[in-house]
Amino acid sequence: MTGASGSFGRVAVRWLAERGHTVHAVDLHANEGLRSGVVLHRLDVQKRGFEDLVRRVRPRAIVHLAMVRRFGRGAAERHRINFEGSAKVFDVGRRLGVKKMIFSSRATVYGALPDQPQFVTEEHPPSAARTFPEMSDLVAADLYATQMLWRHPEVETVLLRPVNVLGPSVQTLLNRYLGRGRVFTVLGYDPMQQVLHEDDLGLAFEHALTPGVHGVFNVTGPGEVPLSVMIEEAGASAVPLPETLIAVLRGRLGFPEIPAGAIEYLKYPCTVDGARFREATGFAPRHGLVSTLRAVPRRRA
């Protein structure tokens, strides 16, 4: 598993190791709290050492999670890691005969666009870059993984596009947003949001490992609620601001430095249809709506 120290990586390593899998955790950064069944490898997936590792351990599957999602990092670095890194990992795995490759994208690649169907299926083009150009490297990596399905049908490729993952281990933009005591919202908008508990993300990875499973899958959790309910359940309080004011305040006066395109996700829903994954694998989230929404560490304003 590449990117094993990241948000999704920590969740997936823990879940799979607890269920008896031997996980070779690959990451450039330190991995605190190792557990039994986990072997740590501190290396760069784009360097020679990664290939040597795959040759040596002959993994049953590669789970590729080494992606940079923070927008503070430069576009060139993001492109190198997210797009070129994904291509490199796939190439290594394919040449060395790895049977299954699991990539993790996000449902956000579809974009929060008002002219989109409310429940987007996997057939829909990932259009996030229309209003959010900073996402283009993530969209490219996502599309790269999907084309491997027909270019290399001998490899079981799985591309997961989970909805917003909530939980104490994940440090996504949304979790950081909800973790603040007071959060701004866009005045007059309250889009529907889908959520998935981090344990259910682990479960989704487990299902993706099932032999025979391959394809592109949206992964949805127990349901949808408006953003305002999500904020309330996270223990934060919403401060609705006019859109024009948010554009000015962005990155100033203690306001988070978020790209302009991210604000669209506070205006329009980016909700998806998760039926295909449920039907293909029998996946059923174990956490209900209330327990998922309350999985964000609460911090009263």
Partner: protein, 281 residues
């Protein structure tokens, strides 16, 4: 929706009585633990809207619905009718008629213009009331997965923003609804909305200025704001029309069927106008 609307919400909550709650429960809207359905409709906001709508329905517009038996008691169906009134008052009154006058009551899901969904506050309110963006996939999912009653005005903004000179004329239906009916096997229930032209007449669509302001149209209403006059409203539902096909046929196959539905709506309009005793009676 924010603390600033709390007094208004409280006032409307006082208008929600037991009979309304009971009737609403019969709709069996699939709500989650927070009282929302998956599209974003909210039980509390729907009840508040219905409480307000009840007064408009019974007292202000004195709505009379004819041929309600043509609307199926359950199962998918597409309601297709003439659009007027500048601000979708017709859509609201069709849904109130199906809620208050139909047995058992039915919830109507209207396909609305994207412009309204993109407008702050308005879009959120529409969503909470159970309406959604008029996109084929949304309508198809509602019909197939939820056996919903979907309301479509195939004249779109041309009908909504129509001028007085075009009153009670079917302005040409777009074909999306027909392909939708074919794809889903949903019967089309035509209806005529009588009273919409007089409640909020417009002399001009104000097109050049509307374009500058980014609006679909800017109605020129004699009394200024596009607020409705207390005319008497009649809604005439007609016999369901069934269309056969896959929905992927050429225009030559689709268009005659569209004309057939337009014709049915025109006939219902003619009947409604002939039977009406007066604009306010």
């Amino acid at each position: 929706m924010g603390t600033w609307t709390r007094p208004l919400r409280r006032a409307l909550d006082r208008m929600v009585d037991e009979s309304l709650r009971e009737r609403y429960a019969r709709l069996r809207v699939p709500l989650n633990a927070y009282g929302y359905d998956r599209w974003g409709a909210s039980r509390d906001d729907q009840l508040r809207t219905l409480a307000l709508l009840r007064w408009f329905h019974e007292t202000y517009f004195r709505v009379e619905a004819h041929g309600l038996a043509h609307v199926p008691e359950g199962g998918r169906a597409l309601l297709v009718g003439n659009h007027s009134g500048q601000l979708a008052y017709d859509g609201m009154l069709v849904s109130s008629a199906l809620f208050f006058d139909k047995e058992p009551p039915r919830m109507t899901r209207a396909m609305i213009e994207r412009f309204f969904i993109e407008t702050p506050v308005v879009g959120t309110l529409m969503t909470r009331m159970g309406q959604l963006t008029g996109i084929q996939e949304n309508a198809e999912r509602l019909l197939v997965e939820e056996e919903a009653l979907v309301l479509v005005f195939p004249e779109g903004a041309r009908g909504g923003g129509r001028v007085w000179a075009d009153r009670y004329r079917v302005l040409g239906f777009s074909q999306g609804f027909l392909r939708l009916a074919m794809r889903t096997g949903a019967p089309i229930v035509p209806f005529a909305f009588i009273g919409g032209e007089e409640m909020c007449p417009s002399l001009s669509r104000g097109e050049p200025l509307a374009k500058v302001l980014g609006l679909p149209y800017l109605p020129l209403v004699p009394w200024g704001l596009p607020l409705p006059a207390p005319v008497k409203v009649h809604i005439h539902f007609g016999a369901p029309i069934r269309v056969e096909g896959s929905g992927d046929e050429e225009d030559e196959v689709i268009l005659p069927e569209v004309r057939r539905v337009e014709h049915a709506v025109s006939e219902l309009i003619a009947r409604g106008l002939a039977e009406r005793r007066g604009v306010f009676l």
